[in-house]
């Protein structure tokens, strides 16, 4: 079954896809999402709607995704395993599809100790891999995780994340292959600053045949300050920020401009790597940087023509 999402069409046509990120607010205000959507509209083929990102309670990704659809932009709804069990997940998956959401990104989720409710219970009934397989079976068999039939299947283009910088390194491409076996159609990577290591990871993915079965979008993010570069290097789990990037940001006169330059250079380099089908630009709380990055990188959304 083809889910029929714009992102799917762009990638199936072999066009270079561009996705961005839109974080829902820590409030019930839909205007925040409408404003961000209007900045990103026309620039991205689809935008990720994060799900209680870094374990901070926010407006749910399904509602925010629906608001984004109403603005004429295609959402990629994120779903983590941290906050719900398989019952709630399947309910949300059916509901999301019924609302017209066509892309679902399946994640394990950051541990709750990172967020603003560290005393909460982490659910983790499933992990990202078993979540992916459940969504795939809901769409294609179609059946619930328990094996019961679904009469009207959720048509979803299924995605996942991959982190080339986590350990053990030799297992990262294999773990992505597991996600492909489980049923993903596309994946977005962790933010890339160390391009050499990413290239090595991509080489392994090509060798394993992953790139033939799954579209890989390279994750990038503009650094907004020297402090952010340092913070990402030292404090964010699963990041690899080379010293030269931190130093370059520290030495910059116009740091935001330099952050965009670094991002554009990384896009230029990852585009040349075999198997890269697009980029995922994560300009969190700096959505206005996305059009600028794309213009400097000479990028257009694959769906823009």
């Amino acid at each position: 079954m083809m889910p029929g999402s714009t992102l799917e069409k762009v990638l199936a046509d072999g066009k270079f896809a561009v996705t961005a990120e839109l974080g829902p607010p820590k409030s019930a205000d839909p205007q925040v999402i409408i404003d961000k959507a209007n900045i990103l509209k026309g620039h991205a083929d689809a935008v990720n709607i994060t799900d209680n990102q870094t374990a901070i309670a926010r407006m749910c990704s399904m509602a925010a995704a629906k608001i984004v659809i109403d603005q004429g932009l295609e959402p990629i709804m994120q779903m983590t395993c941290r906050d719900r069990n398989r019952l709630a997940m399947q309910a949300d998956i059916l509901g999301a599809a019924a609302l017209g959401i066509k892309n679902l990104l399946c994640l394990t989720g950051d541990h709750q100790s990172f967020g603003n409710h560290p005393e909460s219970m982490g659910v983790f009934d499933l992990d990202s891999v078993t979540l992916i397989r459940m969504v795939k079976e809901m769409r294609d068999v179609p059946q619930f995780q328990c094996g019961e039939e679904i009469t009207f299947a959720p048509k979803l283009y299924i995605g996942a994340a991959a982190n080339p910088y986590a350990d053990p390194f030799p297992f990262r491409a294999i773990r992505l292959a597991k996600k492909v076996d489980a049923g993903i159609d596309f994946c977005q990577t962790q933010i890339i600053y160390n391009v050499e290591k990413f290239a090595e990871f991509m080489h392994q993915c090509v060798e394993l045949g992953v790139t033939e079965r799954c579209k890989i979008l390279a994750g990038v993010a503009p650094l907004k300050s020297a402090g952010m570069a340092k913070y990402m290097k030292n404090r964010v789990a699963g990041m690899d920020v080379p010293d030269e990037v931190v130093e370059r940001m520290a030495a910059a006169k116009d740091v935001q401009d330099e952050g965009i330059n670094v991002c554009v250079e990384i896009i230029d380099r990852v585009r040349e790597i075999d198997g890269v089908a697009g980029v995922h630009i994560m300009a969190v709380e700096w959505e206005s940087a996305v059009p600028e990055i794309m213009s400097r990188a000479g990028l257009k959304a694959g769906s823009a023509d």
Binding site: T108, D125, K178
Partner: protein, 222 residues
């Protein structure tokens, strides 16, 4: 073994201050091995309570007795006589102890002096680490003899997640990534390829999530 840590004295005192005659009951098995609730610790707590209560002008008595195991009827029943005339039994066992005491000696109020924390091994002197959560469906043959349910912060069956770096878990550099340990262990047997297999979803109905569990040994019913 089961490990338990003593509650802060202030919390214990907030309960004991409401009672006159108190019996502190120690347990000489797991909590004695982890040096928190055996005979010695029960006596220490008793002495501490006596001093505090004398200072605060609270009348009554504080006595102590220690049994071999508070998780078995016969040992708990043996202290029933000493509970006569007491207003409170304060147990220094894991939570099983005060619960069984409450069941077997129903006339007396019971309070825990401990917080029960885990099924653990003695990692080194005075350090215990959680190895089991009693999930009811052991998987460790396929994970190199290492439990991902008890020892992975996200209970992953298909780890390691993207937060594993330098052998550490994303939650703390103090916490080893158990999936790195599993990978290394399987690799030592040349079996890391096994990790390409998708495991799960887990059947949580065999765990406490399925409701309180009872184990019966067939053919031995009374």
């Amino acid at each position: 073994m089961i490990t338990a840590e003593r509650k802060p004295f202030e919390q214990i005192k907030a309960v004991t201050d409401q009672f006159e005659n108190i019996l502190v009951v120690g347990c000489n098995t797991c909590v004695a091995v982890c040096l928190t609730g055996g005979e010695r610790e029960a006596e220490l707590l008793t002495a501490q309570l006596r001093l505090q209560r004398e200072k605060d002008g609270i009348s009554g008595t504080v006595n102590t007795v220690t049994v071999l195991r508070q998780c078995e009827n016969e040992f708990v029943d043996a202290v029933a006589a000493q509970a006569d005339g007491k207003d409170l039994i304060l147990s220094t066992a894991c939570s099983i102890g005060p619960q069984l005491i409450a069941e077997r000696i129903p006339k007396v109020r019971v309070a825990p002096a401990m917080n029960t924390n885990m099924l653990a091994v003695v990692k080194k002197h005075h350090v215990w680490s959680e190895y089991c959560v009693a999930c009811g469906d052991c998987v460790i043959f396929s994970t190199g003899g290492i439990c991902p349910i008890a020892r992975c912060a996200k209970q992953l069956l298909n780890g390691p997640c993207g937060g594993s770096q330098g052998g550490h878990c994303e939650i703390s550099p103090e916490v080893p990534c158990v999936w790195q340990l599993i990978y290394d262990k399987l690799a030592a047997f040349g079996l890391e390829g096994n990790l390409s297999r998708i495991d799960g979803p887990k059947n949580w109905s065999k765990s406490n999530s399925g409701g309180p569990r009872t184990m019966k040994k067939e053919g031995f019913e009374p």
